[in-house]
């Protein structure tokens, strides 16, 4: 018995040669192979389906990411717009509040309105300098020593004027002073400012009921007579005078619009 033992390198060469011949035969006689084609398609079908599923998933993922990015961009834009609208709304609200306060102020003092300047409070320092900064100045007719009035009462006087702004010295300023009187009480006293404003200068043991209004008399030449500084608290006698602590009527922290009266204005509202 003859045993043929081929070397692997020779074998593969022979196989390749055979394949080449086979290929040539296929080229020369096209056609056929339909069974092979069918087999190939059948084998390939699941893999192709899997590939398509992966491709679809990837496309969906990309589309989802795209719409997510677009949605997030839209959300960011809307958030910005919302913040802008909120700011605008706040500003408009502040404007409306100021307008209301100004209208109320003018309505409260109709006789003073003709000779007064309506001003907005631009800045305030109530603890250190006890002052307000107004947005009206000499160009608008504001003069030094003009009385400044809020709806609930007097605030102070203008102590410095620029062309388009003015500074108000509040009645809570330690150097503030004004002539004051109580209705039904003879004579007048001196309202002294500071952390605890009080009226002094009345004779000892003068009877002044608590909650009595403290009114301006105009003797100092700044405040028109008859305007409210505040209300009296519990009076006491100190030495030669009766001292009456005063609760100021106007709260500078809440005031946004004030009436700056002309220095020459006289007469109560």
């Amino acid at each position: 018995m003859v045993r043929i033992r081929l070397r692997p390198d020779l074998t593969i060469t022979l196989v390749c040669a055979a394949l080449y011949v086979g290929s040539a035969a296929q080229v020369r006689s096209p056609g056929g192979g339909s069974a092979l084609s069918l087999a190939a398609v059948t084998i390939a079908a699941p893999a192709v389906a899997l590939g398509n599923a992966v491709g679809s998933a990837w496309e969906d993922f990309r589309a989802g990411r795209r719409s997510l990015a677009a949605t997030l961009a839209e959300l960011g834009r809307l958030r910005g717009e919302n913040a802008e609208l909120r700011r605008t709304n706040q500003l408009l609200g502040a404007e409306v509040a100021e307008l209301r306060q100004g209208s109320a102020l003018l309505a409260a003092f109709p006789s003073l309105a003709d000779h007064a300047v309506l001003a907005r409070v631009a800045a305030r320092d109530l603890l250190r300098t006890h002052s307000l900064r107004l947005d009206r100045g000499s160009a608008d007719g504001v003069r030094p020593d003009s009385a400044v009035l809020a709806q609930s009462g007097l605030l102070g006087r203008v102590d410095r004027v620029l062309e388009h702004s003015a500074r108000v010295q509040l009645l809570s300023h330690p150097a503030a002073a004004a002539a004051a009187a109580f209705p039904g009480v003879t004579g007048e006293g001196l309202l002294v400012g500071g952390d605890s404003p009080h009226v002094t200068g009345f004779p000892p043991y003068t009877k002044i009921a608590p909650d009595t209004p403290v009114l301006s008399t105009g003797s100092e030449g700044i405040y028109p007579p008859g305007l409210v500084f505040g209300t009296a608290l519990e009076a006491r006698t100190e030495g030669l005078f009766t001292v009456v602590p005063v609760a100021l009527a106007a709260h500078p922290s809440e005031v946004t619009v004030v009436l700056v009266l002309a220095p020459a204005t006289k007469g109560p509202s």
């Binding site: 692997p8 390198d9 593969i12 196989v15 390749c16 394949l19 080449y20 086979g22 290929s23 040539a24 296929q26 080229v27 192979g33 092979l36 084609s37 087999a39 190939a40 084998i43 390939a44 893999a47 192709v48 389906a49 899997l50 590939g51 398509n52 599923a53 992966v54 491709g55 679809s56 990837w58 496309e59």
Partner: protein, 167 residues
């Protein structure tokens, strides 16, 4: 067994990459050449050539082309890869990248030459060949990266670090 599994996986991948919903360039990739490259670590040039022959015939069958040129081209590519890898003692990522590029280039060149000598009209020319080489090289790069990651994951240093962290 591992080679057979890799061969089967590569075959399925090669079929799947022709799916219409995937990026069309991916269809130029020949993952079946990667097991051929991988077998160069285990077999000599003749053994790798046999693997290449099988891969090439499978490609011919599935692509519904003339059966034979792909097999011969695969055998040539396998032998060339085995010779080069041994000659230059390639290891690591270079082995996969150069191996896959070389396998694709040899396979495409040999296939084109064979088809031309047979007097048949090739279904693709230089552009297709370049795309095949590029995509197969990219697949080799991916395999190299995956192998590197797997090695790093299974490395004794990592195990030691994990043990030390637990102490």
């Amino acid at each position: 067994m591992t080679l057979a599994a890799a061969f089967l996986a590569a075959l399925l991948l090669q079929l799947a990459l022709t799916a219409s919903r995937l990026w069309w360039v991916l269809a130029a990739c020949q993952p079946l050449l990667l097991p051929v490259v991988g077998s160069a670590r285990r077999f000599g040039p003749v053994g790798v050539a046999w693997t290449g022959l099988a891969a090439g015939i499978a490609t011919d069958l599935l692509a519904e082309r003339i059966i034979g040129p792909g097999g011969i081209a695969g055998a040539v590519a396998g032998a060339a890869v085995a010779v080069v890898v041994r000659r230059f003692e390639m290891e690591g990522p270079l082995y996969w990248i150069v191996g896959s590029l070389l396998a694709a280039a040899c396979s495409e060149t040999a296939w084109l030459l064979i088809v031309v000598t047979l007097g048949a009209k090739p279904d693709h020319l230089l552009l297709g060949a370049f795309a095949t080489v590029a995509m197969t090289g990219a697949a080799g790069l991916l395999v190299a990266a995956a192998e590197r990651l797997a090695r790093a994951w299974r490395s004794p240093e990592r195990r030691r670090r994990r043990v030390l962290r637990r102490l």
